[in-house]
């Protein structure tokens, strides 16, 4: 689903990623680990071009999204992202947080399709019988889009047991609640893949469990996930592949069993000795 080819990134001449190659298939759960400052976040943020790669390509469903000419917003809709610090929209309620992007983007698509239909129906008058362009049936209106998005949001909230928080503002929630809502906010876009950047690092220890539990559920449902994490337990038990990033390259990539029981790279051996 995502092919990363020779990905490079530098910030003001400082090289952070020096040629990363990796393929992420549908249903993969890839855990990314590595020392602090090794470029894990940078790698993850390049996957949806939150950072524009300096070189190489990111082929997402056949399109190189590292190319500055593609409409990146279109592709980001299909890649969820969950941040260390949750980043819920502070000026919106929980429900609005979840509904905002689906409603806004679907309404935008609707307007675009209506414009397109109008143009086509006018041009069709001048086109021959054979050249007529299809007028796409519009089956939804704004109200329906909103209603469906709300239903979906409430279903997702019920799933995590927070439906009574629908109208609360983020400032009133605990860290664990915020992160779980951030996760279903990206789920509401029906993404093909979700990128997690240390989703539990900013949480109090007693809240780590509930967030990991939700992530395990998603993994079990077959969601494709790339997870930068310090939770070695999660990497061992949930991931089907673990990647070690160090000095801006992938030093090792293996199944969790091999990765933890039989590490090859000397830096990885060091690293595991320290964290385990």
């Amino acid at each position: 689903m995502i092919d990363v080819v020779n990905l490079r990134k530098s910030f003001n001449k400082v090289d952070v990623l020096n040629g990363i190659n990796v393929t992420i298939n549908k249903g993969d759960i890839v855990a990314v680990i590595g020392p602090s400052g090794s470029g894990k976040s940078t790698f993850l943020r390049c996957l949806n071009c939150m950072e524009d790669p300096t070189g190489g390509s990111i082929i997402f469903k056949g399109v190189d999204i590292a190319d500055m000419k593609v409409d990146i917003n279109e592709h980001r809709r299909h890649m969820g992202m969950v941040f260390q610090h949750f980043n819920l929209f502070n000026n919106k309620t929980v429900l609005q947080n979840i509904m905002l992007a689906p409603v806004h983007l679907q309404c935008k698509d609707l307007k675009k399709q209506m414009r397109q239909n109008l143009i086509n129906s006018i041009l069709n008058m001048f086109r021959g019988e054979k050249n007529k362009k299809e007028i796409v049936q519009i089956t939804k209106n704004k109200e329906q889009i909103k209603r469906e998005a709300k239903e979906q949001a409430m279903t997702l909230l019920k799933r995590i047991g927070l439906e009574e928080k629908a109208n609360a503002y983020p400032s009133t929630l605990s860290g664990g609640q915020k992160q779980r809502i951030a996760i279903i906010r990206s789920l509401a876009m029906n993404p093909d893949v979700i990128l997690f950047d240390e989703p539990t690092s900013a949480l109090d220890p007693e809240m780590v469990g509930e967030v990991l539990e939700l992530m395990r559920e998603l993994a079990a449902e077959g969601m494709t996930m790339v997870v930068v994490t310090h939770e070695m337990g999660f990497a061992k038990e949930v991931a089907n592949r673990v990647i070690f990033i160090d000095e801006g390259v992938i030093k090792e990539s293996n199944s969790p069993k091999e990765f933890f029981e039989n590490p090859q790279d000397p830096r990885l051996k060091d690293f595991l000795a320290k964290v385990l």
Binding site: R76, F83, Y169
Partner: protein
Amino acid sequence: MGNFEKKIETFITIFFEQGGSAKVLEGLENTLTIAITGLIIGILIGTVIATIRVLPKYKLLPRILNAICSFYVAMFRGTPMVVQLLVFYYVLFPIIGLKMTSVQVAIMVFGLNSGAYISEIMRGGIQSVDPGQMEAGRAVGLSFGTTMMKIVIPQAVKNILPTMGNEFIALIKETSVVSFVGVTDLYFAFNSIGSNSYEFMVPYLVMAAIYIVLVLIISLLIKLMERSLQKSDRRS
């Protein structure tokens, strides 16, 4: 003290019997129109400029726009309001041949001027919003503009509301220079009442009182607005 009572009497006579009150009302209306419309124009201009100035700058167009905006802000912050009024009224508009009433010119100049100040306030406000908010908006596929409008600017406005209130109060007070281009504002109205009787003490005292009352009312309104905007900070 008898002297003071007589002064009050003179003022009351002029105010109620010789058209003084009508002048003051006209002055009050102009003062408020110029300050409020100027503020609204200023907010629009200021928001647009502030957005341009926080745009990512690796493309050419944002850089050019940014340079134009910096120049604009420097011009309007670097010259006194009176000078701007005089230049627009007596130099710029006659040259381009635009016919505008002095009130319209005053509104324009106040809008342009407060736009420059508000853009700086707004830029500070935008920069005070956690960058994670913009990132989260972009990550779900919203554009820079949409995220700005729906997420960042509402939070920025909340942060800068007190400063904006001060800007509005400053604007109200600064309207006292519009009589330079012949607008009947509060100052002009009371000054002409004074000139009628060669007696300025009472008119100027009343004028000061009106300004104070205006400012107090505005301060109160801003407090109320702040309180209603703070609902997202409260526990529910």
